[in-house]
């Protein structure tokens, strides 16, 4: 087992949002995809060949392998005997072929023992309960500490020299590693909610194991068993070679190798042939296991794969913040130019059926000191818009824009380095999960100071001083002491404040906050929002606040952009969000969120239908299938975002009707109040 297959390939980002095909065919397709990679195909073919030989060779070549020919004893390679003969004149080429069955068979048998014993030991903690489970875990831990070959030798002595003994020996020696793997994987699955849910539903332990745990850890176990078979094969050859394995007259590759070794200087082919066979078969098993591990990604094993994009993005921002060369002197506020000017921003990802555009032609500007909110459902493209502005959309994503200016500098052209400098000095980004935004192995103060050291060439001590000062400015009590602490010693709200503090190490003109309070409690949320507000008023910093929470945006922002299916559908003053929204989606979104004054006697208005899959954008207005006002025109033509002259923009063919219409036209109550309780 050379590498652990536990790593998971990053999900392809927003394209994964779309409806996935059924699980089973996905599984089959992933295995097929493995065979389409060069390594997978090669290893698969090799493995098939080895297995085919194991089945067929004894049937076809037994006679020739056993034919004793005392006239040609211990001969070298010749036309008659390709790799020579042994001390009874038997053809070694055919002996090697025939030995495939015994070698591979014994290796598989040993692997089977290892897998079964391993799974039994590995799942025992789940079945036995806490105390007995702990004993098993401890026993496995001790067994894992012994080198496998040592265990095998030990067992070989216990079980006696011979085939049975060595099969048992190699099987039991492989079991602890397998048990450990099973334990780890099973513990990961057992912690997930669906196992808890099954327990609550009264499902017994054995059924829990068979129905819920084992299917979800099956793939990595199969992969490891394949790799393990390669290892068992080598170990077996080793034991036979040492004379502890297969005994004459039976023969496997290890045995043939030993026999051939005595004459290696006279006719080396006799030793090389079984050696090559061992290498080829071992490689076939190992490579195939590795290819499968890599190919299927093993995303279903232990726990949910958290979006690595965010963490990567956070690191990138840190890198950018740490990599700034000169302090930004031009803060771009002199002439009333917008801090951020975005036109026709489009983000494209390659998809299975042509390019997917999760962000489509977004146009907006943020003025100096202005707070602009972006609201929308998940998948509406709001976070991706922020990442695109920060140049954090990673390959294979592609960003294009008619204009992308930060403080008057075009981010589309020019060097990567100068962009990072500009972004580092004038731009700060705050992410949803502050836990992944900091490096867990470095002290908070150090991480902040690094920015200033790079940025203004401050000495280490002075940079740390500034870090403490910034921590104080984000109202972290006992900032000196806190600066010496590690991220895990900070609470969620504290970390988020420290993250904002890190953004303030430069002199940002724009803070982009992507769901900064979603992971926080309401009381802490208020503190963080207040902090952002005070920074904004104190330093005239513009804020782009991305949130799914309409109430938060309404409270903090001057202006709100409503996004749906990758487009801005409405742009209006925050104060008018509840009263004067014109797009039916905006009105429906606002109405569907319960607030502290919602009528308790009526069902909440809901938006029927589902959000659009970015891979299947309709030609017309993306909201039309869910919109009560939709007409034929809506289904055919996508409305432009039209400015009414007062800075309000809306993209709807029926915007004028909505304005005059009833209070919440976009939202449809699920059932009339009288219908509650109507279904028995």
């Amino acid at each position: 087992m050379t590498t652990s297959p536990l790593h998971a390939d990053p999900a392809p980002g927003p394209t994964a949002v779309g409806a996935a095909p059924p699980r089973r065919s996905t599984g089959a397709r992933r295995w097929l995809a493995v065979l389409r990679t060069p390594v997978g195909a090669g290893a698969g073919a090799l493995l098939a060949l080895v297995l085919l030989l194991a089945v067929l060779a004894p049937l076809l070549f037994s006679g020739r392998a056993e034919a004793v020919d005392t006239d040609h004893v211990l001969e070298g390679a010749s036309a008659a005997h390709w790799v020579g003969t042994d001390n009874l004149g038997r053809d070694l080429f055919f002996r090697v072929l025939v030995a495939t069955r015994l070698t591979v068979g014994l290796a598989l048998l040993a692997t089977l023992i290892a897998v079964v014993v391993g799974i039994v030991l590995g799942t025992a903690p789940l079945l036995l309960g806490r105390r007995a489970g702990r004993l098993v875990v401890a026993a496995v831990d001790i067994a894992v500490a012994f080198p496998g070959l040592l265990l095998a030798l030990f067992f070989a002595v216990v079980f006696g020299v011979g085939m049975t003994g060595s099969v048992l020996a190699i099987g039991f020696a492989g079991a602890p590693a397998f048990a450990r793997l099973t334990q780890t994987l099973a513990a990961g699955v057992a912690e997930r909610d669906f196992v808890a849910a099954a327990r609550v539903a009264g499902v017994g332990r054995v059924r829990l194991l068979l129905r819920h745990v084992l299917p979800n850890i099956g793939e990595p176990l199969v992969v490891n068993a394949t790799i393990g078979a390669g290892g068992a094969l080598l170990a077996f050859a080793g034991l036979s070679f040492l004379g502890l394995g297969v005994q004459a007259p039976a023969f496997d590759w290890g045995r043939l190798l030993q026999d051939g070794l005595s004459g290696i200087y006279v006719h080396p082919a006799a030793a090389l042939a079984p050696g090559v066979a061992i290498v080829v078969a071992g490689l076939a098993f190992n490579l195939f296991g590795e290819a499968v591990a890599k190919g299927i990604g093993l995303t279903t094993t232990a726990g949910v794969v958290r979006s690595p994009r965010r963490a990567a993005a956070a690191r990138a921002v840190q890198a950018a913040q740490a990599d700034q060369g000169q302090p930004g002197t031009d803060r771009g506020r002199r002439d009333g130019r917008p801090v951020l000017d975005v036109r026709d921003l489009t983000v494209t990802f390659p998809g299975a059926a042509g390019p997917v555009r999760p962000v489509r032609g977004v146009t907006f500007a943020v003025g100096a000191g202005e707070a602009v909110g972006v609201v929308g459902e998940s998948g509406s493209g709001k976070s991706l818009t922020a990442l695109a502005i920060a140049r954090l959309v990673e390959h294979p994503g592609h960003v294009s824009a008619g204009r992308l200016d930060l403080l008057g500098t075009d981010l589309r052209t020019g060097s990567e380095r100068s962009h990072r400098r500009l972004l580092g000095t004038s731009f700060a980004m705050v992410f949803q999960d502050p836990m992944t935004s900091f490096n867990p192995t470095q002290r908070i103060g150090r991480q902040l100071a690094e920015v200033a050291e790079q940025h203004s060439g401050l000495s280490r001590a002075r940079a740390l001083g500034r870090a403490v000062d910034r921590l104080r400015s984000v109202r972290i009590p006992a900032a000196e002491r806190r600066a010496r602490q590690y991220p895990h010693e900070f609470s969620g709200g504290m970390r988020q404040r420290a993250m904002i503090g890190m953004g303030l190490m430069g002199e940002p003109a724009l803070i982009v906050a992507d769901e900064p309070t979603t992971a926080l409690d309401v009381t802490v949320q208020r503190q963080v929002l207040d902090l952002l507000q005070s920074i904004r008023t104190a330093d005239d910093v513009a804020l782009l606040l991305i949130s799914h929470d309409v109430a938060v945006v309404r409270q903090v922002c001057d202006r709100v952009l409503v996004m749906y299916a990758g487009r801005v559908v409405e742009d209006l003053p925050a104060a008018e969000l509840t009263t004067a929204a014109r797009h039916p989606y905006t009105r429906a979104l606002v109405a569907s969120v319960p607030d502290m004054s919602v009528d308790l006697d009526r069902p909440l208005p809901v938006i029927p239908g589902r959000p659009v899959d970015p891979a299947h954008q309709p030609p017309g207005c993306a909201y039309a299938p869910r919109c009560p006002l939709a007409s034929r025109r809506c289904a055919e033509e996508d409305p432009d975002l039209v400015d009414d002259g007062n800075g309000r923009r809306v993209a709807c063919w029926h915007a004028s009707e909505v304005r005059a219409g009833d209070p919440t036209p976009g939202a449809v109550p699920v059932a009339a109040p009288g219908a509650i309780g109507g279904r028995a």
């Binding site: 699980r23 996905t26 909610d193 539903a201 017994g204 949910v304 009381t523 959000p611």
Partner: protein, 323 residues
């Protein structure tokens, strides 16, 4: 149907030295056929209480009683069911949703009956009966949460515990799930403990509200009363933090809360080392940090003999004959 009662329930994690008490002597009753909303910040012990109620977490003290009797612990009959927060992890990705629901049906249900019952449950949660063969990956978050509700209902529970069931959902879907929860609760009359950090959501669903802070229930009363006239300063703090301009503005004039600034930046308390006396005193806007002579908060634990059972020394005393 049935009344669920927590009687001095405590849950402790970890060893004697480094462990923590997540739930500390909680008395809480979910009366028959009502929805009790449980609010509180993360780390207050809400979810631990929920897991204790369904037997996922062993109690270290107290009892959970259903109609005055201890809960049956044997597998197969579970009168208290739970719906989890994250519908993306609470359904087995390798099982069709029909199998997931069917698994929770009472033992001994025959195959044909099982199929009909699954279809009925799916329709009850407003999904097509023929979605039983679908896998979770084919469903949206809201649909998955409906499946989770159907699974909880499959066991014919007396009480359902709903732990933050809408917080992982998009706002546009949240409303539909809340409507469904209200409808199902009214139709089946199931008692329900509805846990959420969102007061507006709890207000919409629950008829009673209990507030938890650091493992204790600090206030409990009828929803309208608790929201309109909160007795515990923590409840008031929670209400003031709701990002809803009308509500926040209404409370700005409150003299008690204008002192909030002094304690507003206080870090949430650490459940590993709960403060002595009243657990809320290091953050309390009417406590010893703001009103120095109120030293009693540092030393003595408040009783709950107050209106709304508020665990605060300075809450009005309980009036005889109800409040």
């Amino acid at each position: 149907m049935s009344e669920l009662r927590f009687d001095g329930v405590s849950v402790r994690y970890g060893g004697r030295r480094r462990g923590m008490t997540a739930v500390d002597g909680v008395d809480l009753t979910v009366p028959e056929g009502t929805v009790v909303g449980l609010v509180g910040e993360s780390g207050s012990g809400k979810s631990t209480l929920a897991r204790a109620a369904v037997g996922l977490t062993p109690l270290s003290g107290g009892r959970v009683l259903l109609d005055g009797r201890p809960l049956p612990q044997r597998p197969g009959s579970r009168p208290v069911q739970m719906v989890f927060q994250d519908p993306y992890s609470s359904l087995d990705p390798r099982m069709s949703v029909g199998d997931s629901i069917g698994e929770a049906l009472p033992r001994g249900t025959r195959a044909g009956e099982r199929r009909r019952e699954v279809a009925r449950l799916l329709e009850l949660v407003e999904l097509d009966g023929d979605r039983a063969g679908a896998y979770p990956s084919q469903l949206s978050g809201g649909q998955r949460q409906r499946i989770a509700l159907a699974r909880a209902l499959a066991g014919r529970p007396e009480v359902i515990i709903a732990d933050e069931i809408t917080s992982a959902l998009d706002v546009s879907i949240q409303g539909a799930v809340l409507n469904l929860v209200r409808r199902l609760q009214r139709e089946t009359g199931t008692s329900m403990l509805f846990i959420s950090h969102n007061l507006a959501v709890v207000r919409y669903v629950a008829s009673e509200i209990a507030v938890m802070y650091l493992g204790r229930v600090v206030e409990h009363g009828p929803a309208a009363q608790v929201l309109a006239d909160p007795q515990h300063p923590y409840t008031r703090d929670l209400l003031a933090a709701v990002p809803d301009s009308a509500h926040a503005a209404q409370r700005v004039g409150d003299p008690a809360l204008s002192a909030v600034a002094a304690v507003a930046a206080a870090d949430p308390a650490d459940p590993h080392a709960p403060p002595p006396g009243c657990r809320y005193h290091p953050r309390c806007p009417i406590g010893p940090l703001v009103v120095p002579e109120r030293d009693v908060c540092r030393t003595e634990e408040p009783t709950v003999e107050h209106r709304h059972a508020a665990a605060c020394h300075f809450a009005p005393a309980l009036l005889r004959g109800g409040d």
